[in-house]
């Protein structure tokens, strides 16, 4: 390991400490967590997993299994186990990220902070840390996708193909977007990565087909329809009845809109969850600071990635790909695939996997930018330097925003717990389960008494970070 690599890992450790500090302030949520934990605690693990093969709209047996295993391991110490597991996931993600971008030289180490800021500062990442469910499956898929890339870009070994198959099964049966793991292996193979063999990649394709047959042909689980959720369209969100009224008989334009919105969201951070929020606010004369730096950061970052692809076009057309090319190509494939699987419903968090690969591609592109400019005289290097400072500053603000978002989420979750009785009035079925009342008391204690609210922040600077 070079000193630059060591320095990069040391820096990543500091970032992890910062994220973990804010992450460990976040109690387990009421909505999407407490009810899930009550459900996961019922019966035995095998009964839980078996029952998840007979649900409507969702097929996540291994996702539920993870919640149950952590529940059993915690023996009632829910906060410690679930929140620390979340922090461990972040560490794992950072290690995998560094393994992908391989910082071995000055230039490659210098762009690590940018890459990590993009990783945690992307709006697609926010949900993976602000929400827990209580094990965040979208973060798990991102980790699996990074692990898949690490497997695919390594030297050819039989065990890698076997691990690839296991990884896909694990990710796909944890949450639907786990299917994106197969995209990594196929895309990597297309650009010459042979860590997973041709048979291994063929196995990925077969497993995906098998999953689709199981889900739609055998179990008839289907997928969520328009009637399930509100969804962004244009300048606002439409509730299910409005969606059905507008697109009920012809949903294809809505699906196309969602795919296009998702792609744009990854590349320029607008629209968000299908809503053109920044554009709407700009037209109203109500643009907020964070909207500006979000879009500027993404636009500059995407410009660097486009520049990289343009510079490498001849090698790509001649099918000569190095590791950096492979990472950028996997990002492109992932952006397309992630946007496509968001056809029915686009949400920032669902795009977390593409967002993670955006960070990797940006790291590669920024390193290439620095290396390509290294021959310039100091006077001529001023413009590129200013560009890098602007790029880096906007991403730095987004990274700070990610921490502030966790702080705000921590306040909201504690408010949820203070008002949990009102929530239970609307969801009375949760309390009817055995152990639910005791678990509620325990989780509320964790959120309110054992880990009380940290001091409230004040100041105009907070308006900069209110995404």
């Amino acid at each position: 390991m070079t000193r630059w690599a060591k320095l990069s890992y040391a820096y990543a450790a500091l970032v992890a400490v910062g994220v973990a500090y804010f992450l460990l302030d976040l109690p387990i949520q009421v909505s999407d967590c407490y009810g899930n934990m009550v459900k996961a605690a019922k019966g035995t693990l095998s009964q839980l997993v078996a029952s998840e093969f007979h649900q409507q709209s969702y097929l996540r047996p291994l996702g539920w299994a993870q919640i149950r295993i952590l529940l059993d391991l915690s023996q009632g110490r829910y906060f410690e186990w679930f929140r620390w597991w979340h922090a461990v996931q972040i560490v794992l993600l950072f290690v995998l990220f560094l393994r992908l971008v391989r910082p071995r030289t000055l230039a490659s180490a210098a762009v690590v902070p940018l890459g990590m800021a993009a990783l945690i500062g992307m709006h697609t990442f926010a949900g993976t840390v602000r929400e827990s469910m209580p094990v965040n499956m979208f973060l798990m898929v991102l980790i699996c996708a990074f692990a898949a890339t690490d497997l695919a870009l390594g030297p050819p070994r039989l065990w890698r193909s076997i691990a690839a198959a296991l990884l896909l099964v694990f990710a796909t049966l944890s949450v639907e977007s786990g299917i994106l793991v197969a995209v990594v292996f196929v895309a990597a193979y297309l650009v010459g990565a042979r860590g997973v063999s041709r048979v291994g990649v063929a196995m990925q394709v077969l497993l995906v087909i098998g999953y689709l047959v199981l889900r739609f042909g055998i179990l008839h689980i289907g997928s969520p329809g328009l009637e399930e959720r509100t969804s962004g369209f244009g300048f606002s969100r439409l509730d299910p009845s409005a969606l059905i009224e507008k697109f009920g008989t012809h949903p294809l334009p809505f699906y196309a809109y969602n795919i296009a919105s998702s792609l744009l969201s990854i590349v320029v951070s607008e629209p968000r969850e299908g809503v053109w929020v920044a554009t709407r606010d700009f037209l109203r004369g109500d643009t907020r600071v964070f909207q500006v730096f979000n879009i500027v950061a993404s636009a500059l970052g995407s410009a660097l990635i486009v520049r990289y692809i343009w510079r490498r076009r001849r090698e790509w057309l001649a099918r000569r790909f190095d590791r950096s090319d492979q990472l950028v190509f996997i990002f492109l494939a992932m952006a397309g695939a992630n946007a496509t699987v968001s056809f029915a419903y686009t949400k920032d968090m669902i795009l977390a996997t593409a967002g993670g690969f955006y960070a990797a591609a940006l790291t590669v592109a920024a390193r290439d930018f620095i290396e390509s400019m290294s021959g310039l005289s100091l006077a001529r290097a001023i413009a590129p330097m200013l560009f890098l400072v602007l790029l880096s500053t906007t991403w730095a603000l987004r990274a700070v925003n990610a921490h502030m978002g966790l702080r705000i989420a921590a306040v909201k979750v504690r408010t949820e717990w203070a008002y949990v009785d009102s929530w239970l009035k609307e969801n009375p079925e949760v309390l009817s389960e055995p152990g639910a009342a005791e678990m509620k008391r325990h989780l509320q204690d964790d959120a309110v008494r054992i880990h009380p609210l940290r001091p409230k922040l004040a100041g105009r600077w907070l308006e900069w970070f209110n995404d």
């Binding site: 005289s377 330097m385 400072v389 730095a396 409230k456």
Partner: protein, 164 residues
């Protein structure tokens, strides 16, 4: 040599802003662990302040520690207003403009009798919050002398300021 120097400068340009931001986050965390949260208005000093700051989890915590929501307490000027500095937690809940906050206190038995409810209803009318008024009155009409309840709280705050 030019290559190395230019590369170094470009490397510094791209890394510095983000590294500084990371240092700022770590410094913030460190100071908070040391009990000196930067840019914070500080934790609520009592249950009335917690209610006024709209911090229901703190309210719940303080209730569990035995704080009395009917006790008149001092609140800092920036919590409600410069003229309202001596209130009960129940009164502060009206200025929080959160019906859920009033419900939370009520559910915990804070509205102990009819007189307390009557006072809160009249104060809510004076302050002006239709949602909390509907909750407290249950939709029935309650007679109040306009401005009297608010004047009482203001007078209490004024006296306290003078005594200081």
């Amino acid at each position: 040599m030019t290559d190395t120097r230019t590369t170094t400068l470009l490397a510094v340009s791209v890394a510095t802003p983000i590294v500084l931001a990371t240092v700022a986050v770590l410094a913030f965390s460190g100071l908070e662990i040391a009990g000196r949260t930067p840019s914070a208005i500080g934790p609520p000093r009592n249950i009335a302040e917690a209610v006024g700051m709209g911090a229901p989890s703190e309210v719940l915590r303080l209730l569990d520690f035995g704080d009395d929501p009917n006790r008149v307490l001092s609140v800092r000027r920036e919590i409600i207003s410069s003229t309202i500095t001596r209130v009960t937690a129940l009164e502060a809940a009206i200025w929080s403009h959160h019906r859920e906050m009033m419900e939370l206190l009520d559910r915990r038995g804070a509205i102990v009798d009819g007189d307390t409810r009557q006072h809160l209803i009249c104060l809510t009318k004076d302050v002006g919050d239709a949602d909390i008024l509907a909750y407290l009155s249950g939709g029935r009409e309650v007679e109040c002398e306009q401005g009297r309840a608010l004047a009482m709280v203001e007078e209490r705050s004024r006296k306290s300021e003078q005594e200081r």
